[in-house]
Each structure stands twice: as structure tokens, then as C-alpha cells.
Amino acid sequence: MLRIKMLRSSLKSKQLELLLMTLIALCIAPLMSKSTYFLHVMIMIFFFAFANNAWNILSGYVGLVSFGHGAFLGLGAYTSTLLLLNFGVSPWIGMIAGVILTSIVAAALFLPLLKLSGHFFALSTIAVREIIRLVFEYTPYVGGAMGLTIPIIASSSLYYFQFSSKIPYYYIALTLLLVQILILYKMERSKVGYYFIAIRENEETAKALGVDVKRYKIIALVLSASFSAVIGTFYAQYFLYIHPNSTMGVLISVEMLLSAVIGGSGTLLGPVIGAFVLIPVETVCRVYLGGMWEGFHLVIYGILLISVSIFAPGGIYGKASGLLETLRSKWRKGK
């Protein structure tokens, strides 16, 4: 018994050690490699990990599958960009404004849909996202289908969230991701997190146990939309160019869920693991297959998605932790 306990605590400290080492590696990585391409790939990993974490709150924990998260990301991107272009407002303030605006729009448009279950919610999110996207496409004031370009205001300015080097973006993205993971870690272990999962597992039971299902769905929706808006501002400032298709379209909405589903939806680390797997796959496809094979990574994503659904419904994280558990119990029996 004691031995098992010691084993367990040593395993725990091993995990902690691993975590710390990963963190340190991530922090010093930009100092080791001068390749901007490497930095770009890392930034994209952080970006998609963050975006998929955002999706994961509503769809992974609460179980309301959304194909419409691009709308939230886009709203965040557009809010900060329009404030910057028209009033010279710092994108950091724009980010907060984006969170507020996106929360309001999400509540107004998605709230009525929350009572729908299963497939119907998923389908209606496609429609709502498309309505928002089309409105932006046909409104000249926000740039229409051509979108908005953010001019270079300063070569490197924290206030204007613009840098000529990729290194500041790297650290900003990493910080955003770490803060988000910390918040989600707290959430997962709090009443809110427990209630989210209860709603996903069985709404009737949740209600009977005192869960105000509607209220917690709204909380999840607003949290999920807010995080999406935050990363939307990052998107705008990193690429300095946004248009309705790239920020609100099908592709971005799907990319906001692929890492989570393949990594393991409804878990803290699933989306992060997913992003660390998928983004390099995409990169390899782009580098080695070239322009002619544009979009080929999506073919692989499709195959991965099918395989995960059929063979590892818990995603990579679920499969890995399951395997680890059996190994551990086998080893314990062996002792």
C-alpha cells in the first residue's frame, strides 16, 4: 500500500517535472532557433491550441457541438481592428471591447439555440455563423468581402500590438495560452466545471441534482465566445489582414475544433496535444508537398478525424491515458 502511494507520488512529481521541463523548453526555444519559420509554426500551434481550448468549453465540456466558432473569432478580430483603424485604439483595449461585444452577440444570437439538442444545435450554429459572415461580407463599412488591412503603424510597439520580429508574437501567444490553461485548470476543478460535464452527460439528471442547466449553458457560451474573441484580436495583429472568409468562414471554424476532437475533447490537455500534432502535419504537407498539394493536410485531417471517431473516441489524450492506466495496473499486479 505504502509502496503504491510512493509510486503514485513519484509519478505525480515525474509529471510535474515533465511539465516544468516542457515549459522551460518552450520559453527558451526562440533563443535556440533563429528560424522565423520555426517560430511561425510554434505561434500557430499556440494559436490553435488556444482557439480549440475556447471551442472545447462549450462543445467539449458542455457537449454542445458548434461549427460556428469562427463567428466569435471574427467578431473579436473585427472589433479590435475597426477600433484601431478608426480611432487609433490600442488592440489590447480593442481585445477587451471584442470580448464584450462578442459575448453580447453570442448571447443574443446563440442563446435561443441553447435549448436545441444534439444535431440540431450543431446545424443551427452553421447557419448563425453564415448569417454573421454574410453580413460582414455585404457591409462596405467593415471592408466587405475584401476585408481590412492593418497598416504598419510602428515597427515594434507593444501599445499597437505590432512587431517586426516574430519573437514578441511567440511570447504573447505562449503567455495567452498559459494563462488560458491556468483558468481552464481552475474551471475544471470547480463547481462550474463539474456542472458543465453534468449537463453534457445527462441534462435530466443534472436538473434533478440542482443544476440550473440554462444558466450554465450561457456561462459556457460566453466563456467560449470570449476566449475566441481574444484569439481573434491576436489573429488580426499577427497577420495584419482580416476578411470575412478567413476569420469567420467554414475553414477556420473547423480548424477551431479539429485539434480538440483529435486531441481529446472535454479534456484540459486534449486540444493542446491536438494542436501539437496537427499543425506540424500541416507544416510538413506545405513544405514537402508544395503549392500543388494545397489543402492536402485537410485530407489527412479527415482521415485522422474518422480514425479517432472509430478507434479512439476519447481522442489521443483519452487513448494515451487509457493505455497508461492499463500498463500501470498490469505493472502493479506484476509486483
Binding site: K191, E201, N202, T205, K207, A208, L209, G210, V211
Partner: protein
């Protein structure tokens, strides 16, 4: 002291009367049994009390407070918990986590919720399964889990919907002990049951339901001797046996 007062409650489903002018009272600390043939409206009555269905007319009073047509979670907060006839556990999470969801009804802190859950789980003697995933439990234990979860909401009144249905003799015995332990903590219980034999053992009073109406009420031995009950309920059983 009167804990629950159901007064003249009626519920229709598309013209079909499920519960009709139904009234009963419940004293604190008692165990009330509700029996009746299939489709008598027993589960519907539970759904009305716990706010899962709105009532068409009538009032439900709990601790002197009108709770008619409140939302299920509001009623749970007031102190009425329930189980379902077919257990619907939160399958992907552990048994203890299931019970913690109930415990969060009263507390916000996770450690306090875990403490309450641990008390509930030991009260129903399920501690050894605490870390098992709920959907891996056998159905008999899922029923026990449902009782533990609703108990963790710290109710004054507990509504158990056929906790003994489909159980083996061993599990029935185990559940009887559980129900008895819960009573000892001072929780008032309403229990729907199909089998006369069990309800006679545990109930202080019995209400007999038939076609949505109350046809008899009283102490177990009084009800058992009521010719109306024998005709409506036992009569059917005897007829089936022949």
C-alpha cells in the same frame, strides 16, 4: 409538522388525464409509499412535485411555501431531491464525481463538495466503487448511485422512483438497509413501489393511485384490507396469476 402538501393537483397530456384532483399530506420524518398499477400516474406525480412537468391546476406546498411550477433546480435547492425509475448516471465520470455534482447544490468549494459526497457514498455503502466510471457500474449499483447523488444535495424530502424494481433479492436487501439508514438521518421519503410486499415493510403510510386518482390512503394494513385496493390493484395481480 406538515412538510409537503399536495392539494388538488391535476395534469393532462393531450386530453388524457394522468393525475386527477390529487391531494395528500406528508408529515416530517415519515416514509410515504405510493403504489398503484402501471400507468397509474405515480411517476407523473413525482415529475409534478419536482417541477419536471408544470401542473395544470392545484398547488404544491413545501415547508409552508408554495413551490408549484418552480424549475427543477429551484425545487432541488428548496430541499426536494429525486431519483429516476431508470437510472441515468453521468456515465463518463467517476461515481464520486457523480455524487459531488449533487453536493454542489449546497456548497461552492470543491473540497467541501467532496466531503459531502464521501459522507453520502458511505451512507449507501458504495465507497469501494468511488473511483469507478459510472457507466461501468451494474444497473443495481447505478440505482444506489442515484440515491447517493440525490442525497448529496442534502434534501429534506427524498423522492425515490421504484428503487427496488428489477433488483435481485441481495440487492433488494441492500437497498432496504440503505433506505433505512437514510430514514435514520431524519430525511422524509416518498417511495414509489410496485410490490406490496416491500412497501408493507418500509412505509408508515400508503397512498394508492389508480388512473391518476387516489383510491385509498392509510396505514399499510388498512390499505391492504381496502376492498377498492384489492379490486384495482391486487385484483389485477390475482387475475394475472390465474
Amino acid at each position: 409538522m406538515k412538510l409537503l402538501d399536495v392539494d388538488n393537483v391535476t395534469k393532462n397530456f393531450k386530453g388524457l388525464v394522468a393525475v386527477k384532483n390529487f391531494s395528500f399530506e406528508l408529515e416530517k420524518g415519515k416514509l410515504l409509499g405510493i403504489i398503484g398499477p402501471n400507468g397509474a400516474g405515480k411517476t407523473t406525480l413525482f415529475n409534478l412535485i419536482t417541477g419536471f412537468y408544470p401542473v395544470d391546476s392545484g398547488t404544491i406546498t413545501f415547508k409552508g411555501e408554495d413551490i408549484t411550477n418552480l424549475k427543477p433546480h429551484e425545487i432541488c435547492r428548496k430541499g426536494i431531491a429525486r431519483t429516476f425509475q431508470i437510472p441515468k448516471p453521468l456515465g463518463a465520470i467517476s461515481v464520486l464525481d457523480n455524487i459531488m455534482i449533487g453536493a454542489f447544490n449546497r456548497v461552492t468549494s470543491t473540497s467541501k463538495a467532496r466531503k459531502i459526497a464521501e459522507e453520502s457514498i458511505s451512507l449507501v455503502a458504495l465507497s469501494q466503487y468511488g473511483s469507478v466510471k459510472a457507466n461501468k457500474l451494474p444497473v443495481a449499483f447505478q440505482k444506489t448511485l442515484a440515491i447517493a447523488s440525490s442525497l448529496a444535495t442534502q434534501p429534506k424530502l427524498l423522492l425515490l422512483d421504484e428503487p427496488f424494481a428489477g433488483l435481485s433479492p441481495t440487492d433488494t436487501e441492500r437497498t432496504l438497509i440503505t433506505v433505512d439508514n437514510i430514514r435514520k438521518t431524519g430525511v422524509t421519503i416518498i417511495l414509489i413501489e410496485h410490490l406490496m410486499r416491500i412497501i408493507m415493510k418500509v412505509a408508515d403510510r400508503i397512498v394508492v393511485m389508480h388512473h391518476g386518482e387516489k383510491i385509498s390512503e392509510g396505514k399499510p394494513e388498512e390499505v391492504a384490507g381496502d376492498p377498492k385496493v384489492i379490486k384495482a390493484y391486487l385484483g389485477e395481480k390475482y387475475a394475472l396469476r390465474k
